[in-house]
């Protein structure tokens, strides 16, 4: 066996190293409380520092080669594992997102009930990230499935992290049950595809799919529904609202961006690689066409109704996922660029919004939209940053969200889906309404007892700074888009 193949896997290996080091550090640094001892909330946590430092190093190390990455696609282990500069970019985007989530998590993890589980949180999160890495880099359905499961089973543990809180436990149970259900269907779909083509390599499937047999169509359907579950597209989205609401806010933010984004990229890769050239291309495009319309529209309709901010963000995330998948339509190189760029921009805006929601929930326990009435009077800076992020999510210029929407619309338009773009545009206007509801609550509405003025913890501040820089600069700095564009290959 040629061991030099492992060199292609630098990202996975360095993440694995981080995981092992964190595991060791957790063994020695975490202090078990003595019998009957009451823990005080404490911000001091060596393990958090270890994780942040190690993970930052990991992010930077993997970002550096990606800046002068070559265009060629390399594969290792007989084609099971694939590697390209674009994949490195996506992994780096996920890294930055995870880093922001870790920064945000400090306040929540220092609560007494979570102190002993600090290391656990970081470890589980990193394991899901490793799963996503493998999923992104897979060149074979089995590899893909292993990555997918590695990402979703620990995710259920994260959702139920506040295990003594009823909602969290319930959300975890719901998530794991539905995840198993969707994985089962997905696996069945994969086996049908194997039956139809006799291979599970993405590159080979296209050549074998000579005609659209029912078997391959059913296989494709189950694959799409399995991925639809991960990306939370309608009609596979039903778990989203309950899980997002019940899970700890930090986990919700991780779910809404990192997990969703990696799955969307994988959806693009698999559909274009395995089913792009075959007769099935028009079929999955038609299916996605309706899925996108349903996702964007129905999620918007639900979002208007919500009072709980986390539930609200769940529906917002579903509709954003619809926009994200617009980049998959047609399977063009431009679509790939637009998708990755959209993911990057959506990530900073959404994490920024969640950072505010989380810190307010930690400080005051308030999570309803009308709790935010008059927030501007007491916490002007937080309100301002929240507004920036919401504006970016809604796509108001000059924030990054407007550019990302523009590019993803342009990609779909050039791929020939003018009507779809029109419907998406109309929905953008609708979404503006509900995003502005929050802004209105913060700035205009009066409140007798608004949330008291408080000082955010440093981690949250750092996270907000990163997100704000992204929201403001990723759009007007055209370099970001053109850099991603230069790496886009099919």
């Amino acid at each position: 066996m040629d061991y030099s193949q492992f060199l292609y896997m630098t990202e996975e290996l360095s993440l694995l190293l981080v995981i092992l080091l964190v595991f060791l550090a957790d063994l020695f640094l975490c202090r078990e409380p003595k019998e009957g001892e009451q823990l005080e909330p404490s911000a001091k946590s060596p393990i958090a520092w270890v994780v942040l430092c190690l993970f930052t190093v990991h992010t930077l190390v993997n970002l550096l080669p990606c800046l002068n990455g070559s265009m060629e696609v390399t594969s290792a282990f007989g084609g099971m594992y694939q590697h390209s500069a674009m994949m490195t970019v996506v992994k780096s985007v996920l890294n930055v997102g995870t880093l922001v989530v870790f920064l945000m998590a400090g306040g929540w993890l220092s609560r007494p009930e979570n102190q002993v589980k600090r290391g656990e949180f970081y470890l589980i999160t990193l394991f899901t990230l490793l799963g996503m890495y493998l999923m992104i880099s897979s060149g074979h359905f089995l590899m893909f499935f292993i990555g997918l499961e590695m990402a979703s089973v620990p995710m259920a543990a994260l959702v139920a992290f506040d295990k003594y809180r009823y909602e969290s436990a319930e959300a975890g149970a719901k998530f794991v049950l539905l995840a198993i259900f969707s994985s089962g269907l997905l696996l069945y779909g994969i086996s049908l595809i194997y039956g139809a083509t006799g291979t599970l390599y993405f590159d080979l499937i296209g050549a074998q799919l000579s005609s659209r047999s029912l078997m391959s169509l059913v296989g494709l359907t189950f694959f799409l529904s399995g991925m639809g579950f991960k990306i939370s597209l309608v009609p596979f989205h039903l778990w989203t609202a309950d899980t997002y609401q019940g899970a700890p806010t930090i986990v919700t933010s991780y779910l809404s961006v990192i997990s969703k984004g990696s799955a969307a990229f994988v959806l693009f890769t698999v559909l274009t690689k395995a089913f792009g050239a075959s007769d099935l291309a028009s079929e999955w495009n038609r299916a996605l066409f309706w899925i996108i319309i349903a996702s964007i529209t129905i999620a918007n309709l639900f979002a208007i109704q919500q009072q709980n901010l986390k539930r609200f963000m769940a529906f917002s995330a579903i509709s954003q996922a619809g926009y994200l998948v617009l980049g998959v339509m047609g399977g063009t190189a431009q679509g790939q660029t637009a998708l990755v760029y959209y993911l990057l921009v959506y990530m900073v805006a959404n994490l920024g919004a969640f950072a505010v929601i989380n810190v307010i929930e930690q400080q005051s326990g308030k999570i309803r939209i009308d709790d935010y009435d008059g927030l501007y009077n007491t916490n002007p800076k937080l309100s301002f940053l929240m507004t920036l992020c919401l504006f970016s999510l809604a796509g108001i210029p000059p924030f990054a969200g407007m550019f990302s929407k523009f590019f993803i619309f342009m990609a779909a338009f050039n791929a020939g889906y003018q009507w779809l773009v029109l419907i998406a545009l109309i929905n953008t206007v609708l979404s503006l309404y509900y995003y502005l509801l929050i802004v209105k609550a913060m700035y205009i509405k009066k409140n007798e007892s608004p949330i008291a003025t408080f000082r955010s913890d440093n981690g949250t501040r750092a996270a907000l700074v990163i997100c704000t820089i992204g929201v403001v600069l990723f759009g007007i700095m055209g370099v970001c888009y053109s850099y991603i564009d230069s790496l886009s290959v099919l």
């Binding site: 719901k174 539905l178 169509l217 529904s225 579950f229 596979f236 208007i304 053109s482």
Partner: protein, 639 residues
């Protein structure tokens, strides 16, 4: 070669940084500190601009031409074969503009120390000044028409913010809105022109020499006159050409230094600059349309000069004078017939003349406005009737104002004489008609400027007002810019401008084109006009003026009311557009569109309420819907 100019990026970034700093943290600074930050940044920018100009013009010429340099150009938004770039272009005209803008802006920054002393929002004022300077500098160094458009709009925004600076005054708010709406309306045509141009010519770049661009542009030749004219409409809005000039006189509601900077020296010449930028295309593909521009300019010049003769608000006189002078520059560009420069080619003289006049006009018109600011500061009024006999109280203002008046009237050796004479030569080369018309307007210029001068500094003194409040000369921060700009006005005429700027870049001695006969003639005519103005307006009592007013009351009234053009606009917008177009639309909007959306909202709400059942929280149901969805998708794929 281009690397040594990388530092020019600082010319844009420094004012931007100062804007952000003063805008975000300004309220924590004292007035003095904020002003110092803004002014010192501008000082650095001015030094950098001078250094750039020095370096640029001391570069060796290639084939007798100063090369256009692009130190920085990055693709901002790629859109397939078209792309929006951002960068810095240095060529003779952009470098000259850098000097004009940074000089006047620096003087205005210094001047504002005294003028805006103690005003509320002093820091905000300096922040906006920085924003404006940054946008204007970005406009002139744009490497492509789209970048120019972006900064063009930014300039418009900062102008809006500064006109409406005294936001508690109703008139200021109305004026700022008017300025914004009128120029924005014109900019719409600019944008359409850009899009047509980009669509057919497949490039936005100003690099017309590049072989591929030249081929693409040649392929779009049939549409270029239309595209260029639409762009010119945008320029006409910013440069206050008739009939889009109506915003400029009202814009005088802004602080006077702002009028000097934005509405006299820099922003309002953006339209001229735009035509000069696209000049190779105008000459090659749309010469006839270019002459239309010339006639629009000539009419504007005449109209504004006529109105200026009857105004009593000193800033309005200067505003109309500005409109008239910018029209002179437009005319100079419009009368060009060829690119080649040389002794026997007079057809390209106008290009250089226009840029020269732009330069000299910026200096002496800024002086005039800043003098007006000093006067307003001293008597607390804009109206001539409150002044008269001011020469006793304000000697520095008096002398600088007089020199600037002589310059604008075209009396040697002041700078205006040289640049205006070039314009007249160019006009005569195009057609004697145009030449005589422009000479006549030049005579009117001398007349109304000296009417203003005598009205302020001699004439009937408003003793009552002056006794109640004795006018005095302003402090040094305000008089220093006057003196500095006046010195430039005294010497600028002797700059060998033809060696630096010309249509095809070749150096030529402008004395070769200098028609001494014509110079003597125009000088004589200006002197006669001045003598006439002296005769009518110098004395304590002005019997001739009264008689003239009585002899032609209708004409005077019409000119005073600016030929009722504002009323025409009011009528058209309120009586016709609002009444017959907007009202029915509003009805439609309120009843049909709103009704539809109310219905939609109601429907959404009902629907949302009814489909809540899907989101019941029961997991078996979720799985069921999940599976059902998969089946539906399968059917979609099969069918």
């Amino acid at each position: 070669m281009e690397n040594q100019f990388i530092f020019t990026l600082l010319i844009l970034l420094l004012p931007l940084a100062s804007f952000l700093f003063l805008g975000l943290a300004g309220h924590k600074l004292s007035h003095k500190a904020a002003g110092l930050v803004g002014t010192s940044v501008l000082g650095v920018v001015a030094v950098l601009s001078y250094y750039t100009a020095f370096q640029y013009f001391s570069m060796p010429r290639v084939d007798g031409v100063y090369q256009a340099l692009v130190p920085i150009n990055v693709t901002w938004l790629p859109l397939g074969e078209l792309h929006f770039d951002m960068g810095i272009l240095l060529d003779p005209i952009s470098v000259v503009m850098l000097i004009v803008i940074s000089t006047v802006s620096l003087m205005v920054h210094i001047y504002s120390f005294g003028y805006m002393h103690g005003e509320r929002g002093f820091q905000r004022y300096y922040a906006f000044l920085s924003l404006f300077t940054m946008s204007m500098l970005g406009l002139v160094v744009a490497t492509n028409i789209f970048q120019m458009y972006l900064f063009w709009e930014l300039v418009g925004v900062s102008s809006y913010l500064l006109i409406g600076f005294f936001y508690t005054l109703k008139a200021a708010i109305a004026a700022s809105k008017k300025a914004f709406i009128v120029t924005r309306f014109a900019d719409m045509f600019f944008l359409i022109g850009i899009l047509i141009y980009g669509f057919y010519a497949k490039t936005f770049s100003f690099d017309f020499v590049d072989a591929e661009n030249a081929r693409n542009i040649a392929g779009a030749a049939f549409i270029l006159p239309t595209a260029l004219f639409l762009m010119f409409v945008g320029g006409a809005g910013k440069s206050a050409m008739f009939p889009l000039h109506i915003w400029l006189p009202d814009a005088m509601e802004g602080p006077t230094p702002v009028s000097a900077l934005i509405h006299a020296a820099t922003m309002v010449v953006a339209g001229v600059y735009q035509v000069a930028r696209m000049f190779p295309l105008w000459i090659q593909y749309a010469p006839d349309t270019l002459h239309v521009v010339a006639w629009v300019g000539a009419f504007t010049a005449f109209y504004a000069a006529a109105v200026a003769c009857a105004q009593t608000d000193i800033k309005r006189v200067l505003a109309f004078s500005t409109i008239s002078q910018i029209a002179f520059m437009m005319v100079a560009l419009g009368v060009c017939t060829e690119m080649v420069t040389g002794h026997e080619h007079h057809g390209s003289l106008g290009y250089m003349a226009s840029m020269f006049h732009l330069f000299t006009h910026a200096m002496f018109k800024a002086t005039l406005f800043l003098c007006a600011g000093c006067l307003i500061h001293a008597v607390h009024s804009n109206d001539m009737s409150m002044m008269g006999g001011m020469r006793k109280y304000m000697p520095i203002t008096h002398w600088t104002f007089l020199i600037a008046c002589l310059a604008i009237s075209g009396i040697p050796p002041f700078s205006g004489f040289f640049s205006k004479d070039e314009i007249l030569s160019a006009s005569f080369a195009y057609s004697p008609w145009m030449g005589w018309i422009m000479t006549g307007i030049a005579a009117m210029t001398a007349f109304y400027m000296f009417r203003l001068y005598y009205g302020i500094f001699w004439g009937t003194e408003n003793k009552e007002h002056h006794e109640a409040h004795v006018p005095h000369e302003c402090e040094w921060t305000m008089t220093f810019p006057l003196i500095f700009l006046t010195l430039i006005t005294c010497v600028a005429g002797f700059i060998p401008f033809g060696k630096l700027v010309s249509a095809d870049g070749m150096s030529y001695d402008f004395l070769a084109h200098f028609d001494w006969m014509l110079g003597a003639k125009s000088c004589a005519i200006a002197l006669v006009s001045i003598a006439l103005a002296t005769y009518i307006y110098k004395g304590e009592k002005q019997p001739v003026a009264e008689k003239m007013k009585a002899a032609a009351p209708r004409l005077h009234q019409w000119a005073y009311k600016r030929f009722y053009l504002d009323e025409v606009y009011q009528y058209v917008t309120h009586q016709i557009i609002f009444k017959y177009i907007s009202k029915p639309l509003a009805w439609f909007d309120r009843h049909i569109i709103d009704g539809f959306f109310n219905f939609l909202a109601w429907g959404t709400h009902e629907l949302g309420f009814n489909i809540r059942g899907f989101q019941s929280g029961a997991i078996q149901k979720y799985a069921f819907i999940f599976f059902l969805g998969a089946i539906i998708i399968l059917f979609i794929m099969i069918l």
